[in-house]
Amino acid sequence: MIDVRGLTRRFGDAVAVQDLDLQVARGEVFGFLGPNGAGKTTTIQMLCGLLRPSSGSMAIGGVNWQADPDSVRRLFAFAPDTPPLYEYLTVAEYCDFVASLYGVTVSDRVDGLLEQLDLLDRRDHLCKSLSHGMRKKAHLAAILGIAPPLLVLDEPTNGLDPQGTRRFKDLIMNLRDQGTTVFLSTHVLDVVEEVCDRIGVLQKGRLLALGTVDELRRDGGESLEQLFLQLTSGAH
């Protein structure tokens, strides 16, 4: 579903992402890990077309970004760390609005989408009145309505309460069962361990490790936390 080759991004003299090669299969849940400043968000921004790569190529669903960006945009939906809500729309209206951008109608499914994320009681509240966690849920509900083949999620559990995190994990596993590919970056190793089929660990713009949690465990420490610490501290 995702095919990234030689992806590099420089900001002046600084190299944020260097020569990144990454493939994510259809229906796979891929966890993107790394310490702060490792280049995760930069990679995601390039993947979503929000940032131009300095070099390298990207393809989503077999379609090259540079060659056919319009088709690529139909294949994925993006949930940034800061949800891009319209403050004066209600949650239900926002779901309708986002769906209309993708040429989809969700009016008859909005309640189900919101129920899935425990947000139904906020259906007719203005987005500006939502807490950070609820805002994340609202945007997630909106893009779930589109049912894209690929979901790109940047720090999706930031601001979610334990119940919300649990629901999110269940949701991701359901999506995987339905064949949706999920690319998520997070610092919450518990989420990665439970829902991700494979993980990639990024440090200073370079991919340090790539594989399933079990595969990486065999090469490293006992827990994912130990493995992560070992990988990222060794790269310093």
């Binding site: 940032l51 319009d70 309708d96």
Partner: protein, 536 residues
């Protein structure tokens, strides 16, 4: 806390972004100072002052300026003026609140910042014209000092009112019922400001005679200061070449600024400055949502505009009060003093046309300028660049269109302008609006001003200030040209000045140029969007 504030400011200025932000702030201040100088200068030259009964006009002008600028400085003090945002950023207030520092000290600190912000803004916009008028008028020094004291008192009273509202808001928190009460207070306060404004214009002569009785010799040091201050002021006056026509335009601009921004003042005070949580009030969702992208984007814009800008309702109410003049109208005694003056100055002197330009400047939102937070959604969706641009044409264009219609109607109904002049206004103003719309599309989508990509080099202050300044200049120039054309072609409604052939030719040329400019700027905006959001 003061030290940490100072360090944060110092570190900000040391970075490239900080320097750019500072540059944006200085640009804003420079513009405010220039506007202030222009206002002071034009008031001196305008016959507005004589019309309201001031023989020499100099003293009254000070009062008029103070009264007219009072709402404006309040707006400036609490709106998101870049300088205040940059110098008095408040995001770390919550850190202070969670710290062991005493809450009294924290509240004092916040208040000091707000008062300082209000005073800085007010001195920039109200103090400069005051000083300009005082210097220009060669008033006795103590009289001049008395004027300045009046200014400071007026500003102080305004700040005190704002603080009072803040106190009330802090006490009542963010409960739904109390929010309604505060909203009513807000409307009452703005209404009081408008009444004050009108009565100040209508009864300024009385204030003038009172102030004129202050006649004492001044200190020599102040005379030296006046002499030094006179030089740049004279230079500025020379550059601005004051004309009586422009004075009411600027005054009207301030009135509009005050009306349009007053609601924002309170909303900001309640929700941002006081960290009050917005109420979780249930809102009636709109019915069936449009399915096509353009219709959805336009619908979204109108829904949000309606919900976010309650001040439009207030402006409508005030407009109705001003126009509605039967004997039962409780404002008649007050309006009898003020409306005739305003009517004569703004309408019969041909100066009512710039209303459109002022409103257009205020209503400028840019192509995607008001959706910058949503760019990650818009840019990653399959939304066509053409659809986005078409929706923005509607959302940016409708305030312009509405402004032209309202200006024409107000000229006809309130100003007593003839039908021919009214039609002339519409015919000559519309091409200007088309050009302004195109300019808004092109400037508002200019890649350097829109932070889609993180490599956008400009600091946010420059990014937000420069487009508005560019468009303001375009709008002013356009409508001034339009005014001259309309005046020479149509007059006041007592028959066209030029021959029918000349009128038709000029109108045809104006419309032709407008359409060409609109098409060109539309294409430019499309290219900008493609650069910003990627090709399709």
């Amino acid at each position: 806390m003061l030290r940490s504030e100072w360090r944060a400011l110092r570190n900000t200025v040391r970075t490239k972004e900080g320097l750019q932000a500072l540059a944006g702030t200085l640009i804003v201040f420079a513009c405010l100072v220039l506007v202030g100088l222009a206002v002071g200068s034009m008031l001196m030259e305008s016959d507005l002052l004589e019309r309201v009964g001031a023989p020499d006009g100099s003293m009254l002008s000070v009062v008029v300026v103070a009264l007219l600028l009072l709402p404006a400085l309040l707006v400036l003090a609490f709106a998101k003026v870049p300088c205040r945002n940059q110098l008095f950023a408040g995001s770390h207030v919550t850190t202070w609140l969670a710290s062991p520092v005493g809450s009294r000290r924290i509240v004092t600190m916040i208040w000091v910042r707000q008062v300082a912000g209000a005073y800085l803004a007010s001195l920039a916009i109200a103090g400069v014209p005051m000083v300009a008028v005082v210097v220009r008028a060669d008033l006795p020094i103590v009289t001049a000092l008395a004027f300045l004291v009046v200014l400071l008192l007026v500003v102080g009273a305004a700040v005190a009112l704002v603080l009072l509202v803040m106190v009330v808001a802090t006490r009542v928190g963010s409960g739904g019922r109390w929010r309604q009460v505060l909203l009513l207070l807000h409307f009452a306060f703005v209404l009081a400001l408008v009444v004050l404004l009108l009565s100040g214009v209508g009864r300024g002569a009385q204030l003038r005679s009172w102030l004129a009785n202050v006649q004492l010799d001044g200190a020599w040091i102040f005379q030296v200061l006046v002499s030094v201050a006179r030089l740049p002021v004279e230079l500025a006056f020379g550059v601005w070449s004051p004309q009586s026509l422009v004075a009411p335009m600027v005054l009207l601009g301030f009135v509009v600024v005050a009306l349009g921004g007053a609601a924002r003042l309170y909303r900001t005070a309640f929700e941002a400055l006081l960290c009050a949580t917005p109420s979780g009030r249930v809102t009636q969702s709109s019915g069936a949502w449009p399915r096509t992208a353009v219709a959805s984007l336009v619908h979204r814009g109108f829904v949000e505009a309606w919900r976010a800008r309650g001040s439009l309702v207030l402006v409508s109410i005030l407009g109705a009060v001003a126009v509605w003049r039967p004997a039962a109208n409780p404002f008649v005694p007050l309006l009898d003093d003020s409306i005739p003056v305003l009517r004569e100055v703004f309408f019969l002197q041909d100066s009512w046309l710039p209303l459109a330009s002022v409103l257009a400047m205020l209503l400028f939102l840019g192509v995607i300028g008001d959706e910058q937070k949503q760019l990650s959604l818009l840019a990653t969706s399959p939304l066509s660049r053409g659809d986005l641009l078409r929706s923005r044409v509607v959302l940016v264009g409708w305030p312009f269109l509405l402004t032209v219609v309202m200006a024409a109607l107000s000229g006809k109904l309130v100003g007593g302008v003839g039908w021919l002049a009214t039609i002339g206004f519409v015919l000559t103003a519309s091409p200007c609006v088309l050009i302004l719309l195109g300019a808004s599309l092109a400037v508002g989508s200019w890649p350097a001003f829109v932070p889609v990509h993180s490599e956008v080099p400009l600091a946010s202050n420059v990014r937000s200030v420069v487009p508005v300044l560019v468009l303001s200049a375009v709008a002013f120039g356009l409508f001034y040209a339009q005014h001259l054309a309309r005046k020479n072609l149509f007059g006041h409604g007592d028959g066209p000045h030029g021959s029918a052939g000349v009128v038709a030719l000029v109108l045809l040329a104006a419309w032709g140029v407008a359409v060409i400019v609109l098409v060109a700027t539309y294409r430019l905006a499309h290219r900008n969007l493609t650069t910003l959001l990627g090709p399709q």
